[in-house]
Symmetry: C2
Subunit: 270 residues, 2 copies
């Protein structure tokens, strides 16, 4: 049974895709088999792995909208990384919400991804789902196909504002379609460690998790994963070469931080 983790934050540009690629690559480098799923019509995860969405005949879009398509037909191994597979996205994913709208009431539209990937995921140790910056149907599919959530975030004031709404949605999903959903933790991205703002925001988040300990809330056992991921230009450059930072710049702070993060995440396995 693999660990299935959705990378979620409805705020844009906080590091969801960067964390999916590099946490995934770091886990794979340690010998684990990792499947990454791109649920974003922007297809940034797909692009970051050197795949051109315009060249794809089979993607998450066909998987969600065509009953005959199986996950085994869609999955691709990442070049040069034996333990790393991906279900890639295409821009047509943007249309999925309207196409599946009639299946929402029955709960079918929300669980297609889970149902379609149940077999494939057994070939992996970790499944990482990269979600778009919204709480719409694609993210909901991510939330129902996962058992755990990691929230990448920037330790900024406006980031805290969105957390309330995000956690409200997670709580609703847990009471509704996915009772096994928990929040594993937060990854601090693009972190500026020696600023008052960052330490204030981190203290807020840690306090929020502390006050949930011993309750039945989905984040009762959540943590702020060490280490924070420092700002590092190599992390922004790697996607333009279609590589993770681990292969693009193995000695960089970006590679080191994500390698350490992978150990924290793996250690926290329930």
């Amino acid at each position: 049974e693999p660990r299935r983790i959705a990378l979620i934050n409805q705020k844009g540009g906080v590091g969801k895709t960067t964390t999916t690629v590099n946490l995934g690559a770091a886990l794979a480098a340690s010998g684990l088999r990792v499947l990454m799923i791109d649920l974003d019509p922007q297809a940034h995860l797909t692009l970051s792995l050197g795949i051109d969405p315009d060249d794809l005949d089979l993607s998450v879009y066909e998987l969600l909208t065509e009953t005959g398509v199986s996950a085994g037909e869609v999955v691709r191994m990442v070049e040069g990384s034996p333990n790393l597979g991906v279900l890639p996205a295409v821009t047509n994913l943007a249309g999925v919400e309207s196409e599946l709208s009639e299946m929402v009431a029955t709960g079918l539209a929300q669980t297609i991804l889970r149902n379609k990937t149940n077999d494939l995921v057994r070939q992996f140790d970790y499944v990482l789902l990269d979600c778009p910056p919204s709480l719409g149907l694609l993210t909901i599919n991510g939330l129902t196909a996962a058992q755990e959530i990691i929230v990448p975030m920037q330790a900024h004031f406006l980031a805290l504002q969105g957390m309330g709404k995000l956690f409200e949605t997670i709580n609703m999903i847990r009471q509704g379609i996915n009772p096994s959903l928990t929040v594993a933790g937060v990854v601090l991205c693009m972190h500026e460690a020696n600023t008052i703002l960052a330490s204030d925001v981190v203290a807020d988040v840690e306090g929020f998790f502390e006050s949930a300990r011993g309750t039945a809330l989905p984040w009762a056992n959540a943590e702020v994963y060490p280490p924070p991921i420092r700002r590092n230009i190599k992390l922004a450059e790697a996607p333009s070469f279609g590589q993770s930072v681990l292969t693009y710049a193995p000695d960089s702070n970006g590679a080191k931080d994500y390698a350490r993060l992978a150990r924290s995440v793996a250690k926290a396995a329930v």
Copy 2:
């Protein structure tokens, strides 16, 4: 007749709100009357001005959905800034897309904001519309209520990927609902000036604009505005105090960069 400028980029977290607040404050500081309009259900512009969206009886939401509500009733002056007004947002704005769906075919849903603000905007020299990270109905209202577009962006690889789609939408709007729409330019946000990545991306954007010179394309006269806005923690802290960086940290690089940007933008007035 005021200059009406929409701050647009469907990629999240690139600096749209930060640019709206601080460009607006800098223009106002130079004596111009500036109206800012928050079109984002996240209400980050509203929060950044020290306004609590949960306390609002009248907002852009009521303006768009209730025929009897006028912009004059919704507008608020920003505390301590005589030339600065705002039409604030609330989280209910997220529901506007479904509420107005029946009016989309006639083009009415897309132009409500323009029609409702035509009178009020004459009291201002500049109108800045802060749009959400999407190309949905709220952004479309921003694009039809504006005559010019400024695209805040980060000089990163994935940022370029989204530009194509964004400009395609702008071109469609210009051929459809708003023939007077032009792209005034790009603001480089969170800029890391001495990196190869940044200079490559900036060169790409400048080349894209160059090749449009003398054509009828909406970006035929677009420029990359000087100066790039450097990363500066003061810009991230100011919202938590409900102030622009110009009042919060007037000697910071953030304040200086946005003051210079305001001069570039004002000079480029058609």
